[in-house]
């Protein structure tokens, strides 16, 4: 089981790598780290403490901390949606904290609720219900994407919001189409 100290160290290391700081308010920070730990325990991955997760990694990949939206949010608002990662200006109190609007597209937000619809319909048929849930997760078709700027390759349903290596924008990603040809 991950300890709170490990969650803290992981976040600190990540903040250092990207030139960010963790939230300067000790109580607020503690709450966020506890939230991350709780999510890691119940979902087995540290999904964003301030967003409702579906519990299925296929549907929650973009909100596993640090989420896809962190870098653009720190750039535009000085901190991520939860306020875990902040810019130097916010950390040093030079810039006022502003509310960070949700950048995650609504189609992805509602994924946390989709299994509920299936459950309602198939309530009486437990077996079918389980199958439906699995099917829902597998409906998210994964593809290979590469960053045209640095060559980073990733296998997921959608290209990342920002390249984690060179920070290129989403538009720089292109899909790698795999073609298998049989000859002879």
């Amino acid at each position: 089981m991950t300890t709170l100290e490990e969650v803290r160290q992981r976040a600190e290391a990540d903040a250092r790598t990207y030139g960010y700081h963790l939230n300067p308010d000790p109580e607020f920070l503690q709450n966020l780290l506890e939230g991350l730990k709780q999510n890691e325990e119940r979902y087995s991955y540290p999904s964003c403490p301030c967003r409702l997760a579906s519990g299925k990694i296929e549907l929650d990949r973009d909100i596993i901390c640090p989420c896809d939206y962190r870098d653009p949010d720190v750039e535009d608002f000085g901190m991520c949606y939860c306020g875990l990662y902040t810019s130097s200006d916010i950390y040093e109190g030079k810039t006022k904290v502003r509310p960070v609007p949700e950048r995650r597209p609504i189609e992805k937000q509602v994924r946390a609720y989709e299994p509920a619809k299936a459950t309602q319909k198939k309530e009486a048929k437990t077996k079918i219900e389980v199958k439906t849930k699995e099917e829902e997760a597998s409906e998210v078709k994964k593809k290979l994407w590469y960053c045209r700027q640095c060559g980073y390759v990733v296998f997921r349903d959608d290209s990342p919001y920002i390249c984690p290596i060179c920070k290129a924008k989403k538009e720089m990603f292109a899909e790698i189409k795999v073609r298998i040809e049989f000859s002879g």
Binding site: L36, Q38, G83, E102
Partner: protein, 94 residues
């Protein structure tokens, strides 16, 4: 669906908070309402059943909001998205 009730002297309005158990902004909202003696009800949506979650999503979206947390609904008509002290102050007369 079980809402928890927090009593307070400032009880002119019906205040309902939709929160997540893990969310720091939701904790701030709970603390802010309590510190200002506001009577309110809350539910931690992440701890609800799938059916309840779906009902909550429908309810918030029917009021013109998005399913993000914290969401505060005052008197069943004014919707406040996120922890917005300014809007809470204005709406609740704090």
């Amino acid at each position: 669906m079980e809402f928890s009730k927090v009593s307070g002297q400032n009880n002119e309005h019906k205040v309902v908070l939709y929160a997540l158990n893990t969310c720091a902004w939701c904790k701030m909202t709970k603390k802010y309402l309590k510190d200002n003696n506001v009577e309110y009800e809350f539910i931690d949506v992440d701890l609800c059943t799938p059916k309840e979650k779906e009902k909550i999503r429908e309810h918030i979206m029917s009021k013109g909001g998005s399913p993000v947390y914290p969401t505060v609904i005052v008197d069943n008509k004014i919707l406040i998205t996120g922890f917005r002290k300014d809007k809470l102050e204005e709406t609740l007369g704090i």
